[in-house]
Structures are given as structure tokens and as C-alpha cells.
Symmetry: C2
Subunit: 309 residues, 2 copies
């Protein structure tokens, strides 16, 4: 059975939105990616690091969802990475209040032996150096490597980022970051330039405006599902990546046609994520709900036009 390896942060988040606020809850990129992928029934592992303050029941939660935690290093005398932020009324912009890296400064990713042959790898938003170290440890040369990044690494470690980009198959990046990385305002041109940097597939995430998938001359678009209420957007991008990667792991088909389906699965998963704080909604998601949401995506986007030239 094909396996999914996930490298990313495991953190505490404290979130404030117009609808309420949380104390320290489970956050970081890896939990969103892994819990989302787990809904597709794949065998996954998280490579990450936490402090002694990280609760046992969070780790148990991963295991209950068939997520291998043997490579989540626990440093007893250190604190877990902590982020807090406040969303504006439009829910599209937020202010970061706190970023305490804590134990994250000691992270040295070690891939568990049984996942060195994983067929899909998600390199969550981390330093390009750490992302490269993970690729070094993979023994499956045909593994699909998916990389997520953000403007912080473009501003601070651009050379390293460009080096690791040469080694990945898929990049997921948001629209503003794609523009920053290339200096191009057109996303079509930006995607082409990023493609030239290495990744064969470029996924540009536009938040509430959906996601674009580019591959050479092919382009596919999936909207975000229009929702009555967006409760908390935190982790939606990672949840998208988890659904995307989970579907590709499960089907083990990396063609453009199948990537389109993976984008739809990612979008469906992200549409659940924003309904509750943190990854809470992922935990209570059943297959019937996922089926209905995928059906809603079809209804939202599919049309019949007879074209005869």
C-alpha cells in the first residue's frame, strides 16, 4: 500500500476571529495536512518536533487516525512552537500577534525507515534547508514531492528555496507569494516562471477564490465552495494540501487528469476546515459528508455545452 510522508510544524495556535477566540489549540501545518489526508484512508507519518508541554491526547489523536507519530520528536525541557493571530472582519486578512519558535529551532528531520519509500511526500511550510534534508533521505526516486512555502523564506533564504525547488514535482503556493517569487502580476505568467524553476506542477491557492493547477500548457481551476459562514480560515491551505496529497497517495496516479481530481478533493476538505476552529471539523468528518461535499462541487462547476466547430 502506498504511503504518505508529511513533514511540517506541530504547534499550538491561539486564534481570534469575529466569531470567537480559542486558548492554545492544536495547530501547525502537519496536523491539518495529516488529518485531512487521513479522511481518505491513507497510511501516513508526520516528521516534526514538539516540547514537553505537548499533550499526550493530541499524539493519541494522530494515532487514532492512523497517522504514524514515531518521527515526532519530543524534547521534554522545551516548549512547543506557538503562534497566535487575530483575523479581521473580512476573514481574508489577519495580524500575527505571537510567533514563539521554541523547540522548532532544534528541528532536524529524520524520516522513519518504513516511510523512506513513501510514494508521496508533503514538505509543509518549513525552512528550505529542512525540506532538502527530507528529500535527501528518500529512497523512492519516483516519489511525488509536494512542497509548500511562504513569503518568509523568499525574503530570508531565497537561494536555498530556489535550490530545493529544483528537486520537487509540485509546489503549492498562494497567489500573492507566486507574484512575489516571480515579479509577475499575471498568475499564468507567474506559474510558467515557477515551472521553469523546477516543479512540473504548480498549484496556486487563492483562498476564497479557489485554486489553479498548472502543468506545462494545461490549466485547471477549482473554486472554493461558496459558504454561508467562514468561521476560522486557519489551516485551510494545509487542509487543501492534505486532501490533494491524500488523494494522490490513495490513487497512486500522478497524471494531470488525476491531479485535477486531487485539487477537487483538496478544495472539498478545505471547505470543511473553515467551519470550525483549528482542525476540529476534520475530526468529526464522515464519509457521507465528504461525498455530499464532492457532489456539491460537481453541481457548482459542471455544465453541458455542445461545441461543434
Amino acid at each position: 500500500m502506498s504511503k504518505l510522508l508529511i513533514v511540517g510544524t506541530v504547534a499550538f495556535d491561539a486564534i481570534e476571529t469575529p466569531f470567537g477566540k480559542t486558548d492554545k489549540i492544536l495547530g501547525g501545518s502537519a496536523p491539518f495536512i495529516a488529518l485531512s489526508a487521513s479522511k481518505l484512508g491513507v497510511d501516513s507519518a508526520i516528521v516534526s518536533i514538539v516540547g514537553g508541554d505537548f499533550p499526550e491526547d493530541h499524539l493519541a489523536l494522530f494515532e487514532e487516525n492512523n497517522i504514524n507519530i514515531s518521527a515526532i520528536e519530543v524534547i521534554p525541557d522545551e516548549k512547543t512552537f506557538f503562534w497566535s493571530g487575530r483575523y479581521h472582519n473580512d476573514m481574508n486578512t489577519r495580524d500575527t500577534i505571537t510567533t514563539d519558535l521554541n523547540v522548532l529551532t532544534k528541528f532536524n528531520p529524520i524520516v522513519p525507515k518504513e516511510f523512506q519509500e513513501a510514494s508521496v511526500v508533503v514538505l509543509g511550510n518549513l525552512s528550505p534547508g529542512d525540506q532538502s534534508k527530507v528529500i535527501d533521505q528518500m529512497t523512492n526516486n519516483s516519489a511525488l514531492i509536494i512542497l509548500d512555502t511562504m513569503n518568509y523564506w523568499m525574503n530570508n533564504t531565497l537561494d536555498e528555496l530556489l535550490r530545493v525547488l529544483k528537486r520537487v514535482d509540485v509546489i503549492t503556493i498562494n497567489d500573492e507569494e507566486a507574484r512575489q517569487l516571480t515579479g509577475e502580476s499575471s498568475l499564468v505568467v507567474a506559474a510558467r516562471k515557477i515551472h521553469e524553476m523546477g516543479p512540473e506542477f504548480v498549484v496556486i491557492k487563492k483562498g476564497e477564490h479557489g485554486a489553479l493547477l498548472f502543468n506545462d500548457k494545461n490549466v485547471f481551476f477549482a473554486p472554493a465552495l461558496p459558504l454561508e459562514e467562514v468561521f476560522d480560515p486557519t489551516g485551510a491551505g494545509d487542509t487543501f494540501a492534505g486532501g490533494f496529497a491524500g488523494y494522490l497517495t490513495k490513487t497512486n496516479d500522478f497524471s494531470f487528469e488525476n491531479m485535477k481530481r486531487a485539487v477537487v478533493y483538496g478544495s472539498a476538505m478545505a471547505s470543511f476546515c473553515v467551519e470550525k476552529f483549528g482542525p476540529e471539523r476534520m475530526l468529526n468528518l464522515n464519509s457521507k459528508e465528504l461525498f455530499n461535499r464532492l457532489q456539491a462541487f460537481k453541481t457548482l462547476t459542471q455544465f453541458e455545452i455542445e461545441l461543434t466547430s
Copy 2:
């Protein structure tokens, strides 16, 4: 053969974008709507008003495209409505430099007798009072009435706007205006509230982020085609409305399924509009190009997922 009636401004525009600037060129809502619809081969008329400075060859241009101009009133001693604006580098925002209403203050719409039975009416962005006067003159009770409006009328003549909304079947409105009209940030909730104001169908235009069609519990989304370059967005919304209305006129089918196709036609026409200044691109558009663009929309959005519950 079913007919399309278009009421709107006929104007001069002077446009400045990062790519260049124009002198006074053909503008206003009605030319974009009519020229777009004309590409679908429908029989249309414009109801509008211009000054003595409006060139004969612009009027001839309408006639060449099978657009009836008998109800474009010419006031010899007055000047044509004039708008000028400058787009910012992102092409999504613009500053209005000049708005000279000129002859527009004397507008009293008179529907030509042979178009009082039109099957589709587009009420372009105009005062709600003038829009109402047009509806009063229609003899076809089952005509589909499509209304476009903007924030100016919400700010200045909201009561009149709410009155005319009760009499229309379809509203086309942009996302910010939908939020303003309803006080709701969620477009799903905003569409429902607008639906309660009268229109059975609500089309929310999101510019480069596409368009949503709502009808009771149904929702359909069409993206804007991702383009290498947006040269001039002026008139894209009206061109969308023209393609939408033109398709509905031609097919004479006002079901939700057919409205979805109309939204795709509207989006395809708008994607051409932005390639040149003003309505220039519409004039040189052939059916092969339209066919290819519709094909590109299918490729962009259509996917196959087997869903078995």
C-alpha cells in the same frame, strides 16, 4: 425570432492603463452589451441618448452588427456622456478622473414599437427610475428582465432601486455591491437576501475571480479565464451581461441549466473584452475564436469524479 432590448449609456471613454492610454473612444454600457450579444447572432436594439458630437461611423458600426439604433436619440446641441479613468498597476482598481453626464441628464427612454415584445431585456447601469420606465413599456409579460446596477444608485436612490428590483428576473451585480446592498459579507447570504428583494436569479460578478449564479438553492460558478495579460478591464462586466443575455435570447430557455451555459458564454465574451481597449476586440471576434475560448472554459473547469455513496 426572439429579440433583445438593451437600455444603457452610449458614451465616450478615455482610458489609461499601465499599457497605454486612449483618446475619446466608444464606451458606455450599451455598446459593450450589444456588441457582445451580436456575436451570438441575435436581433437587438439599443435605447439610449447621445449628443451631436457622436460620430456617424459609431452608429454605422452598430447597424453593421445588426443592432437597431432607431431609439438612440441624438440631441444635436448637446455633448455625449463622457467618462475618463485611470487603472492602477494591479488592474483591479481604478480612479475616475472625469464624469460629464452631459446629454444623459435629458434621457427619457422610449422603447421602439417592434421591441416592446422583446423576449429578453437588459437594463444596463442607469437610474432605477429610467429602468422602471422601460419595464412599463414592455408588452411581453413573460420577457426576461435583467438588471445591472451599481453602488451609486444604492447610495442615492435606494428606495427607487428596491422598487424596480421587485420587477426584474435577474440581477447582475458585483461582489462589493452585493455586500453593500445587503450588509452581508458572505455572498451566499447576500444572494439569498437579494433574491428576497425580487430577482429570481442573482448573478454576482467577481471580476478576475469569476461569476456566481444563484437561484433559490442552486448555485453555479464560472471562473474568469486565466489570462497572460489584462490590457483594459473597462466594459468586461457589460460584455459578460451581453454574452449572458445574448445566449438566453438566442436559445429562449430561461431554466437554471441554460442560465449556467449563459454564464459560461458571458465569461468567454468578457475574456476577449479585456484583451484590447474598449470594445475593439469585440469587433474583430470570429466564431472560430469563440469556439476555441468556450473549449478552453470546458478544459479549465470540467473534471470526472466517480461518486458512489
